[in-house]
Amino acid sequence: MMSNNITITIDGIACEAQEGEYILNVARANGIYIPAICYLTRCSPTLACRICLVEADGRRVYSCNARVKDGMNIVTQNEAILEERRAIMEVYDVNHPLQCGVCDQSGECELQNYTLELGIDSQHYAIPDTKRGTADWSSVLHYDAGLCIVCERCVTVCKDMIGDAALKTGPRGGDPLDKSYKATMPKDAYSMWNKLQKSVIVPSNGTEYTNCSDCGECTAVCPVGALTERDFVYQSNAWELRQIPATCAHCSSGCHIYYETKHTAIGNSKEKIYRVKNEWNYQSLCGAGRFGYDYENSSAVKDKTAFDRAVAALQKADTIRFSSMITNEEALMLQTLKETQGVRLVNPDARAFQSFLRAYAEASGQGIYPDDFKSIMRESDFVVTVGTKLRNDNPNVRYVFNNIQKMNKGAGIYFHPVGDALVPTFGKNVETFEHKPGEEELAMHLVLDLFADREALPDSVRKTIEAYHEPRTRTVTEKVMEEVTVTETDPETAEEKTVTKKVPKTVEKEVEYDHNGLVEALGGDAEHFDEIFGKMMNKKESFALILGEDLYFHPRADNLARLAALIEDVCAMKLAMVPPRSNALGVALICDLDAEATGYVVGYNAPGDFILSALGTGDLDMPALNQQEGTLTNMNKRVVPTNAALPYGGYELNDLMNSLGLGKTLTVDWTTSLPEDRGFVAIDFDALPNGYANDGQEHRGYLLDVPPAEKTATEIAPFDGDGVLEGQIAYRCNPQRQFSDFTDKAHQIFEPFALYASPEKAEELGKRVTVVFDRGSLELDVIVDERIRGDIVEIPDFQSNKNIYALFGDNRYATVTLRKGS
C-alpha cells in the first residue's frame, strides 16, 4: 500500500499523518485524546457508539472511520459535540444496573470512566427495562447481557482478528423508543439508542454455545463487565491485582502479556496468578496464553542432595535433551556446556528449523527470513501459507491470515493436506488446497507459477512449470439473448399478432483455457482456477508467503528452503517462517544442535536419564517460565523480555552453571553475552523496554540484526514424487490451546491427549484406536474436531513423555495403520 505523508491540524496542533489513516489513530499517535468506545485499532470501525464524533473542516464526522485528508482541520471538542457525547453516555446509563460494587470491571470500566469524565450526574431519558440474563457461552466465557452496552467490540474482534466470527447481535426484545425523543434528543445519541434498544449479543451459530476457539479475546476487549472469563468472575477487583509485564512462552508468537497476581487467599499470602491481560489494541492472544497461566513449579525447594546429583549428572552427561520452552539465556548456558564439556545438544524441533534456516541462508544469502508477521498483517493484501496448520500451530499467524482478508480486502491461499472448515470462512477470496503430504514442493512451484516473472526463473524451474501447462477446452454456460417469434393475444382487442422478442437463454459453449496441471496435482479446481485466481488478484499490491513446520520436518526440507529463497528473489513477496515451538528461533540461533542423543542423557523439560524439570516431576526442580526472568526470541525476530510473576524456591540452571564454574551472578547477566554474530545485541536485561506506545509502536526488547550469509547452494532439484505419502496418514499436530506439558498443566486447558479426527473419520474409527507406526504404536481415544475435514488424523505431541517425535521421525506426517478398539 502506498503511503503519502500529509499534515493535518487537530485542535490547532499540526500533526503528521499518512494519507488514508483514520483521524482517531492520528490523534492517538500525537497524544491528542478523543473518546472512543467501539473502535478497535486493528479492526474495522463499527460506528456503534458514536462518541468519537469530531468536526473536520466544519463537518461532523466519526473520527474512527473518517480518513484524514491533506490540510484537514479537526476540532475534537466544542459545546455541540460535548452535548452529543453527554447524551450518548446518559443513554448508556439508562437501565444499566447500578452494580459497580460487585462488577468485575469496576475500576477499569470504560462506561464508568466516560460517565465520570463527561460529568454525567443526572439522567434525562427513560425506557422500561427488559429482562436480560446471564449465560455461560463456553468453558471460559461468561456473558451478562444486563451489563452489555452493545458496542460490538466482541463481535468485531472475533470476526476481524480471531476469525471465528462466533458472535453476532441478536434481538433484545426491548420496547421501541418513545417517539418524542426523536425530536428532542441529540441525533447521534438517538440513533445509537435506537440500535442499542434492539440488540444483545448472542453466539452466531444459533445455539447457546459459541463452540469457538476459546481465545478469550472478546472478554479482553469488552469495555464493561458484560463479557468475562468464567473462572475470574467475582474473584478479585482489578485494583487489587499487581501487573507483571511478561511474554507468553507457549508458542513462537511470543505475545506480550501481563500476568495479574495477588495473594492466594486470606490465610495464604503466596502470590497467585488470577488472570492474564493483554494490550488488545496491539496484540491479540489465544486461549493458551490467556488461560494457560498456572503452570508454575510451586512446590520447589532448595534440595541440596538433588542439586549435587544434578551437578554430577551434568558432569558425566553425553547429551542434554531440552525443549524450546526455554529462555535465550538458558539456551546460551547449554551452548556454553557444549563448548566447554563437549555435550551433545538435542532438540528436534529447533534442529529441524535450524537446518531449514541454514539451507535458506545458503540459498538466499540472507541470515534469516526477511520479513515479520506484523508488517505482513499491516501491509499485505495477498497471503499464501505453505506447511503450517493455521488453526493449531501458531494462533497469531492465523490472526494475520484472517486480518488480511478482513482489513486489507485481501485474498489468501492455504496449502495444507489436512482439510479445515474454518480457514475458508476467513474471506471470500480464500482458496484452500488439500494436497497430499509430500507435495509441498509442488505448492511452492505453484506459488512461483502464479507470482513470479517467468523470465526471471532459472531454466530448469521454468521448464518444470511450463510442463504442467497445456491448453484444454472446457464447457462454459453463457447467457445469450435470442430472438424468438411468438404469437400473442392483445388483452384489449383480443386480436392475435406475432411479435419478435429478445429472451435470455443459457447456452453451453466450448472454450479454450490454460490448464494448470500444478493446480490439478494439488487437488484444486484446475478447470476454473484461472478465473478464480484472476478475481483474487484484483487490485492486489502486496504479497506475502508464510512457511511452517511441515517444511522443516520434511524429507526434502533443503530443497524447499531453496525454493523459498527463489520465491523471495523473483516474486516480490514478503517471506516469513513460523518457528515450530516457543523459543525455537532463539535456540536455533544460539545453540549448535545435534541429531541424535547418545550415552547418558540429561533432559531439561524433556525425557532423559536425569531430568531437570520445571513441571516439578523430574529429579531436580527448575523454575517455569512464569517464575523466571530472561528473554525469548519470537517469530517477529524480536528479542523480548519476560519477568517473573511468581516466586520460586528452588535452584536455577545458572546455579548449576555456577557449581560447574561457568555461571554468572544472575541468569539475566547472560543477556549481554548472547551471540552478536547471530543477530543479538549486547543490551543489559534491565534496559530492555516491554510495552507499546500510543501509536501502536512496539517497544519490546530489540529486533534481531542477523548478518547476511554466504550464498552457496541455490540449485533446485526437480520434484520426483518420492516423498508423497498415500494411505492412512497421521499428522503430528496439537489441538488448539495445547502446546506443551505446560499448557497441559494449566487447569483451564483440558484438551486431552488423544487422536483428533474429522466427524466422519471419528465415526468410522469408534471410541478408541491403536495407531501403529513403523517405529512403534500408541493407543489413543478418538476425539472429534468439528473443524477437521478429510481422512488424515491428528496426533498431538504436547506431552513430552509420550515421545511422539520418535514415532514420527523427521517428518510431520506418517503412514500408519489404525486398529479399532483396544
Partner: protein
C-alpha cells in the same frame, strides 16, 4: 508501565538506622559506677510519689477511684469506634456486604482481606472477610467508604490477645441472626445524609 520495581533484586536490604547509644559504659568499672549512681540517687521514689499518696488515701481514708476491671466495666457511648460490626439487612436478614472491596482498598493499615466468589444464586458471595486487629488503627475509613452501611465500628474494645495478629472473621462480626432486631443504626459517616433528597437529581422512570 515502569519496570523499576522489577529491577531491585536486593529484597530484604532495608534502610535501618542505628540509635545513638554513646553513653553506654564500655568497661566493667564504668558499668559498676552507673549502677551505684542510679541506686543511691533514689530516683525511683520520685516516680512513686503520687502512687504512694493515692495508695495511702485509698487504704486508710476510703477514697477509691478505680473501677474493678474486668469485674466492672464502664458503659461506652453508642458511637464508640472499636471492633467492627457487620450488619444485616433488616428485612431479609441477608448480610449487607456486597463484597465490593472498597474497605479493603481504603484501609491504610492494609488490615482487611476479603474473598469473594460467584455464588449458586449467580450473585457475588462473600466467602470470608477478615480484619487483622494487630494492624487495624481504628481510623474508621472502612466504615466511611462502605456503600452499603455494612461495616461499622462497635463497642467491643477488648483487643488484647496472645497473638499480635489476632483477627476477626466474618461470622464473628456479623450481627447474630437472632439479634437482628437489636441492630442499631446511626446517622453520620457512611449513612445517607439527612438532606439527600434535596441533593440528588431524580432519575426519570418509564413505568
Amino acid at each position: 508501565m515502569s519496570l523499576e520495581q522489577f529491577k531491585n533484586r536486593n529484597v530484604g536490604v532495608q534502610h535501618y538506622r542505628m540509635l545513638d547509644l554513646s553513653h553506654t559504659p564500655q568497661t566493667g568499672w564504668g558499668q559498676f559506677k552507673q549502677v551505684v549512681r542510679r541506686t543511691l540517687s533514689l530516683e525511683l521514689f520520685v516516680g512513686l510519689k503520687v502512687t504512694l499518696r493515692e495508695m495511702t488515701k485509698a487504704l486508710f481514708f476510703g477514697k477509691m477511684h478505680t473501677t474493678k476491671y474486668p469485674f466492672e466495666k464502664l458503659p461506652v457511648g453508642p458511637r464508640y469506634r472499636a471492633i467492627h460490626e457487620m450488619k444485616r439487612l433488616l428485612e431479609s436478614g441477608h448480610y449487607r456486604c456486597i463484597g465490593c472491596g472498597l474497605c479493603e482498598k481504603i484501609c491504610p493499615a492494609d488490615a482487611i482481606r476479603i474473598e469473594t466468589a460467584y455464588g449458586e444464586d449467580q450473585r457475588k458471595q462473600v466467602q470470608e472477610y477478615t480484619i487483622n486487629f494487630g494492624r487495624c488503627i481504628f481510623c474508621g475509613y472502612c466504615a466511611e467508604v462502605c456503600p452499603e452501611l455494612a461495616i461499622v465500628h462497635g463497642g467491643r474494645y477488648e483487643t488484647a490477645s496472645e497473638q499480635r495478629a489476632s483477627f476477626s472473621l466474618f461470622d464473628d462480626m456479623l450481627t447474630p441472626i437472632d439479634r437482628l432486631k437489636e441492630q442499631k443504626e446511626f446517622p453520620g459517616y457512611g449513612s445517607v445524609s439527612p438532606d439527600a433528597d434535596k441533593r440528588i437529581h431524580k432519575t426519570p422512570l418509564a413505568y
